[in-house]
């Protein structure tokens, strides 16, 4: 079923050069059909890694659009170029030493350029994940780290926001800082985990684990088949 002769063909323009490719491909597979072998600009091929940021325009339209090559259908008359790398600076920090109790704006301290945000919302419009990017920049400005972390959670760090920003904000690095602060300092911690880690330190399960390690397949099968399943979490 690999090939259908009667498949409808469309025309795409890769960095200005025209190619005919079958309909029904993603931008990524359309480029491969056209003969390109990826080294850069191709990663997980499943929408999780942000490697395949693509800038495009459709024939007859003046607008530049942005999306992921692996998650977007190739359309007739697309002019395409991919972004192999984003040269964005990132603030270094020591996660153990961020004192958010005594410092009311860690975010501004690490990324002072967020104060230059002109609320143009270009970052939000550029985001292939439909994240409210400008909103999390504004939340960071107000010191609302929890909100910035939540709003940015689906970020795949493709960098399209930062490439388009007139204020040169590095949104995705800023968001990473917010999420790490939330995970480390804002979210309450698990007491169940603490208890288990303590029990393990005391060697509570060592003997039983050792016993399992020494069991024959026959013995293991018996215990395994008699397992009781937890009904609800």
């Amino acid at each position: 079923m690999a090939e259908e002769e009667d498949k409808k063909m469309i025309e795409i323009y890769v960095m200005g050069r025209r190619y005919k490719v079958p309909e029904g491909l993603t931008i990524m597979t359309a480029l491969e059909y056209a003969g390109y072998k990826y080294v850069r600009s191709c990663g997980c091929r499943g929408g999780f890694c942000g490697a395949c940021s693509t800038v495009f325009r459709k024939e007859g339209d003046y607008k530049l659009m942005m999306d992921l090559a692996c998650q977007t259908a190739a359309e007739d008359g697309m002019f395409l170029v991919q972004l192999p790398f984003v040269p964005a600076v990132r603030a270094e920090f020591e996660i153990d030493e961020l004192n958010i109790e005594e410092n009311d704006n860690v975010m501004l301290e690490h990324y002072p350029e967020i104060a230059r945000c002109v609320s143009c919302n270009t970052c939000t419009k550029s985001c292939p994940q439909d994240i409210k990017v400008m909103d999390y920049v504004q939340a960071s400005l107000r010191g609302d780290i929890d909100r910035a972390a939540k709003l940015s959670f689906d970020c795949i760090q493709c960098g399209l926001c930062s490439i388009r920003c007139p204020a040169d904000i590095k949104h995705y690095h800023l968001a990473q800082l917010a999420r790490r602060i939330k995970g480390r300092y804002i979210d309450p911690k698990s007491s169940e985990l603490e208890k288990m880690v303590q029990e393990l330190k005391e060697g509570k399960y060592d003997e039983e684990l050792e016993k399992l390690c020494d069991m024959s397949e026959e013995e293991l099968k018996k215990v395994y088949d008699e397992r009781k399943f937890q009904k609800e979490g």
């Binding site: 079923m1 690999a2 259908e4 029904g24 491909l25 597979t29 491969e32 059909y33 390109y36 072998k37 990826y38 080294v39 850069r40 191709c42 990663g43 997980c44 091929r45 499943g46 929408g47 999780f48 890694c49 490697a51 998650q71 977007t72 270094e92 996660i95 439909d130 972390a149 959670f153 689906d154 990473q176 999420r179 790490r180 602060i181 939330k182 995970g183 480390r184 979210d187 309450p188 911690k189 698990s190 169940e192 985990l193 288990m196 880690v197 393990l200 399960y205 039983e208 684990l209 399992l212 390690c213 020494d214 293991l220 099968k221 088949d225 397992r227 009781k228 937890q230 609800e232 979490g233």
Partner: protein
Amino acid sequence: MSDGYPEYMRKSIEKVEATREKRASIDFERMKPEESQETLDNFHPDYRKEGKHELKVGPSKGELAPIELAELLESPSIIDPSEIDLSQVDYDVEILIVGGGGAGTVAALWAIKEGIDPKDILIATKLRHGDSNSMMAQGGIQAADKEVDSPVTHYLDAIGGGHYTNQPDLLKALTRDAPEIIKWHEKLGIMYDRDENGEFVELPGGGTSRYRLHSAGDYTGMELMRVLMDESRNKGVPVLEFAPAVELLTDEKGNVGGALLMNLETNEYYVVRAKSTIMATGGFGRLHVQSYPTSNHYGATADGLIMGYRVGIPLRDMDSVQYHPTGAAFPDQVIGLLVTEKVRSLGGQPVNADGELFVNPLEPRDVEAAAIIRECYGKEKGITTPTGMRGVWLDSPLIDFKEGEGTVAKRLPAMVRQYERFNIDMTKDPILVFPTLHYQNGGLVINADSSTPVDGLFAAGEVSGGVHGKNRLMGNSLLDFNVFGRRAGITAAKHARRSQKPTKLTLDHLSKYNKELKDAGIERKNPSPMLLPEYRGKRVLERHLDVQVTL
């Protein structure tokens, strides 16, 4: 209602809708051991002898491996040893880490904790730092930390799921280290899903007898990977991107002393000398074993298996390949992409063309996959797409039906987004699925401290074998790369501290391996490692599926 489905598929969806309420309360009986064995024998691609090849050379001579892998193992190297100048060392480091995914990055962080200066480490990776299957893992990470659970139960679930073939000391390490790993993640600031008291929201996975999966929405792997990378950057670990290792380097005694890298953009070689080398290159999904589509990353081409095998590391459990029960089967653009097991953890059911539930949604992965193939090719109750791909429905709207509207959108944002891009609303309509090549169960033989049988070489993550035996359970691979990445980093650091720099670097093992190939009369034409898969031209149209069932 979404408009992404053609009319005839919508007719079948109506049948799924008609049975939904009734199915919601069915607790489908799990297969008895005999039935699951029979289903595997007849329908699981791994149980087809024709797909396997007996290795003719190397440390695992006589053992079976998928043909696609065997062809690469039994091929000459992409480099000619006589043309490589090893006298000039470009990078002289304590620890070389080959692969910048989960295992490699974790190893770097723990080597630093063990006292190695970050600048004496080098991560060399084929694509970008973080480009890996680790990044794509959606469902979660297992760790027994609840009152009703323990590492003992976790061990039992995993060894049964693995058909009692797991290496016991590795599995003990995996389950016992798990809670400490989550504790470490808390300190790094990983945002796990928690309740208002800070306790983790945990789910069951296929074959787990407890609610044990920790997750971060359905972006669990991405959340882990981006934090690990961020921390690695804070520590200043040098990373060489687009510079894969193409072969390991050995000293006069045959011990590993670094690797030869290739700059993918300039085609230059770089010689790296290292006291300890950690192999963390991941798996082999992009070999499309048995012509299956894959959920794997672009770079998953078995490079580490090839390089490790050539220096003398045996492989184990290579005869078993994990097909994830639910890869996307429609629309064409997403064929093979992962539909996380979490859809079933949350209550979604696999349903046939007539709207019937035909298997317990949470059997171990190999059994679940075999049952779906049986439904499509044995019982002819699948749905065929306009381009000929068969699949069954995964009733995702059932989750909202059971757990309340908005649950799917809240708990599975990545999945919802993926389908939305192609005009399918999985909160309202079911999605079509078929097994996809997902994980390399076996790999390079390692010890519990991540050392290998060859001095100077360590291995962690998907490239290594033994942890999962012949079938991995959901949530144990994110755990694997953390547990064994950590152990590899620590062991490699200790090894580096007590070792001298190798005095002479050679490719003697390659010449030896080439001679073995010649003596065995093998002349293959697929030089390896492969580095990148070939999809140019019409190959990209191949849906890579020609299911053979033994009835």
